[in-house]
């Protein structure tokens, strides 16, 4: 009689087939509508008038200047945040001190306030009515409506990425390895270079990738401090908006496609890192 009665054992946490199907379909529809479709539109619009027009839109001097500026800003902001992020997470994960919880909250601040406000803070700090602005100007240093301001705003907005990636990783790893290295006679620098850094390198790389993607894509904060001087203080996202407002769709989407491409490359690299080094690359241990 037992062969007639098939008993189906189900994992208690499992769901029925219909539930799964509904969940999967919902996610797919959502992703398709909100992510995949826009992405396709960007490339379709960019190539609407053919490859020639696409290439021309990118080679145009103002577009080229925007690309160069974006790369320059990222090249300054990302290494700075790499160092800041590393220092902050090192301090938070490995040492006990007063105000640690406050510092942790402070690191998240750029995530919790609107980027436009972040930009306005710099306008207030370095604007003509401020103390710092005129003083720096007397030394010939322009901050607002110039590259330094854009870099500052970008650094501010992208600060949390590296730190947030590293803090849980470093907290999880504890100080055991470092103590072992020190007890074997290694100096502080040797310990960092040979032990700490290799332990966090994938998490660090992951944080840098995210930081870079945001640095290149930042719009709000940068738009407030940049002044949008064509060919001078326009980054790629700002340039896209200007072209769009001028109904220059092909050029706007051509530049936008570069940013979308950057996002895709970041995603591919992230997936590769996770596959290659296990879930550890994204905030665990490898």
């Amino acid at each position: 009689m037992s062969e007639n009665r098939r008993i189906l054992f189900r994992n208690p946490a499992d769901e029925s087939f219909t539930t799964k199907l509904v969940l999967v379909c919902l996610s797919l529809v959502f992703l398709g509508f909100f992510l995949f479709l826009p992405l396709v539109v960007v490339f379709v619009e960019a190539f609407r008038k053919g490859g020639e027009a696409y290439y021309e839109a990118l080679a145009e001097p103002d577009a080229w200047a925007a690309i160069r500026l974006t790369l320059t800003v990222a090249a300054i902001a990302v290494p700075l945040n790499l160092v800041f992020g590393l220092a902050a997470s090192w301090a938070i994960a490995k040492f006990e001190f007063k105000g640690k919880a406050f510092l942790t909250t402070l690191i998240d601040l750029p995530f919790s306030i609107s980027p436009v406000i972040s930009g306005l803070v710099y306008v207030l700090l370095f604007g003509t009515g401020s103390l710092l602005g005129p003083w720096l100007k007397s030394y010939g240093i322009e901050v607002l409506f110039a590259v330094p301001g854009i870099v500052l705003a970008t650094v501010f907005v992208t600060f949390p990425f590296v730190a947030r990636e590293l803090i849980p990783l470093m907290q999880d790893q504890g100080t055991g390895d470092e103590e072992a290295a020190l007890s074997l006679g290694a100096s502080g620098w040797q310990t960092f270079w040979y032990v700490t850094l290799p332990n966090i390198k994938w998490g660090l790389l992951y944080g840098v990738l995210l930081c870079n993607a945001r640095a290149m894509g930042e719009f709000g904060a940068v738009s407030v401090v940049s002044g949008r001087i064509r060919g001078l203080t326009n980054t790629m996202p700002l340039h896209v908006e200007i072209l769009y407002n001028e109904y220059n769709m092909v050029a706007a989407f051509a530049v936008a496609s570069l940013l979308a491409l950057l996002a895709l490359v970041t995603l591919a690299l992230k997936t590769f890192l996770e596959l290659r080094f296990g879930a550890g690359a994204a905030g665990g241990r490898h």
């Binding site: 055991g176 390895d177 103590e179 072992a180 290295a181 020190l182 007890s183 074997l184 006679g185 290694a186 100096s187 040797q190 040979y194 032990v195 290799p198 332990n199």
Partner: protein, 345 residues
């Protein structure tokens, strides 16, 4: 290397982890710091290593005051509880690390580091595993790599934090014996921390029993087992029972009744005895109570007895009873301690 610990005190945020601890460790000695968690044993080990610094007191290595020397300058071999092997380095790189990071003046050439590493691997019986990574090794092998790595820097003393804590029982026993042989062969002054009394008693020349940041007793396995100097040591090491007693005119009284043993001066305190140090008796002056349970323990049988004189609250004790004459549950058992100690209150 001789180690002298003088009146060490260690506070963490005003919580005292160690109170005025003093200890002399002879050169070449194998010492166990034994105690329950929170007794301060690991703190003491880390202070000796220089991984923490004392709030007060000094630590001497030989004649040299090492209290304020950094961990790098102390040249101690430290084996961590979870080994702390560098997971991105091979076994050989792990063991050679301490030599590689030396300043160039004292750093041995590469070929010599290689030779030293292979000698050390020989010593810990892991030859052939040079190129493995820590996650490709068993727990026991990792432990030995950690030991070889600590030995590579030719430490003045060897410190081990719960060296067998993370291993299963069988590997633990093997490594224990192996560590003893290793110590006898190399002759390093060695201090290890453990909460496992069997490990401490079997392995160490002297055992330092600690509780609540204080040293309770220092002595050989025989000393701490047969001549415990405090109620804590008596109950922490081995099995024991205790009862509140009074001594009047030389006779020891439990709940006002004589129990057939005597002691010199009048006092009140706790009577401690071990399950094996009792004799069953028919005498009227004895401890007596109802057998509530009996259990077989390796080569012995232990009876649990609730003893009480009429009207008083019962006290639970455990005594050893003959293996082949099982005692009936619920029956009355009478016994006298043959070896005991009264700690006065």
């Amino acid at each position: 290397m001789e180690v002298k610990i003088n009146n060490i005190r260690k506070e963490f945020d005003r919580f005292a982890a160690l109170h005025d601890v003093s200890l002399n460790i002879a050169s070449g000695e194998l010492i166990a710091l034994l105690g329950p968690s929170g007794s301060g044993k690991t703190t003491l080990l880390r202070l000796i290593a220089g991984l923490d610094f004392p709030t007060a007191g000094q630590i001497f290595f030989g004649e040299e005051d090492a209290s304020h020397h950094s961990v790098q300058d102390r040249n101690v071999g430290f084996v961590f509880q979870h080994y702390a092997l560098f997971r991105h380095m091979t076994v050989a790189q792990n063991i050679g690390f301490g030599l590689k990071v030396r300043p160039s003046a004292s750093r041995p050439p590469k070929s010599e580091i290689k030779k030293r590493v292979s000698d050390l691997l020989d010593m810990v019986q892991l030859s052939g595993l040079e190129n493995r990574y820590p996650n490709q090794l068993s727990g026991g092998q990792r432990q030995r790599v950690a030991l070889a790595r600590a030995m590579a820097i030719e430490p003045r003393i060897l410190l081990l934090d719960e060296p067998f804590g993370a291993l299963d029982a069988k590997v633990r026993k093997e490594l224990r014996r192996w560590l003893r042989e290793f110590h006898d062969r190399t002759g390093h002054t060695t201090v290890f921390v453990t909460h496992d009394q069997e490990e401490a008693l079997e392995l160490a020349d002297r055992v330092v029993v600690m509780s609540q940041g204080k040293i309770e007793q220092v002595g050989s396995a025989d000393d701490v087992y047969d001549r415990p100097q405090s109620p804590f040591v008596f109950s922490f090491i081995g099995e024991s029972s205790h009862l509140p007693v009074e001594v009047k005119d030389g006779a020891v009284l439990f709940q006002g009744e004589p129990i057939g043993i005597s002691q010199g001066s009048d006092s009140a305190g706790d009577l401690f005895f071990r399950p094996e140090d009792v004799v069953l008796t028919d005498e009227r002056e004895a401890l007596s109570g109802k057998v509530t349970a009996s259990r077989r323990l390796a080569g012995t049988r232990i009876a649990e007895i609730d003893i009480a004189n009429n009207g008083h609250a019962p006290f639970h004790v455990e005594v050893e009873v003959p293996l082949h004459a099982p005692i009936e549950l619920g029956s009355e058992a009478r016994f006298r301690p043959t070896r005991w100690k009264i700690f006065t209150k």
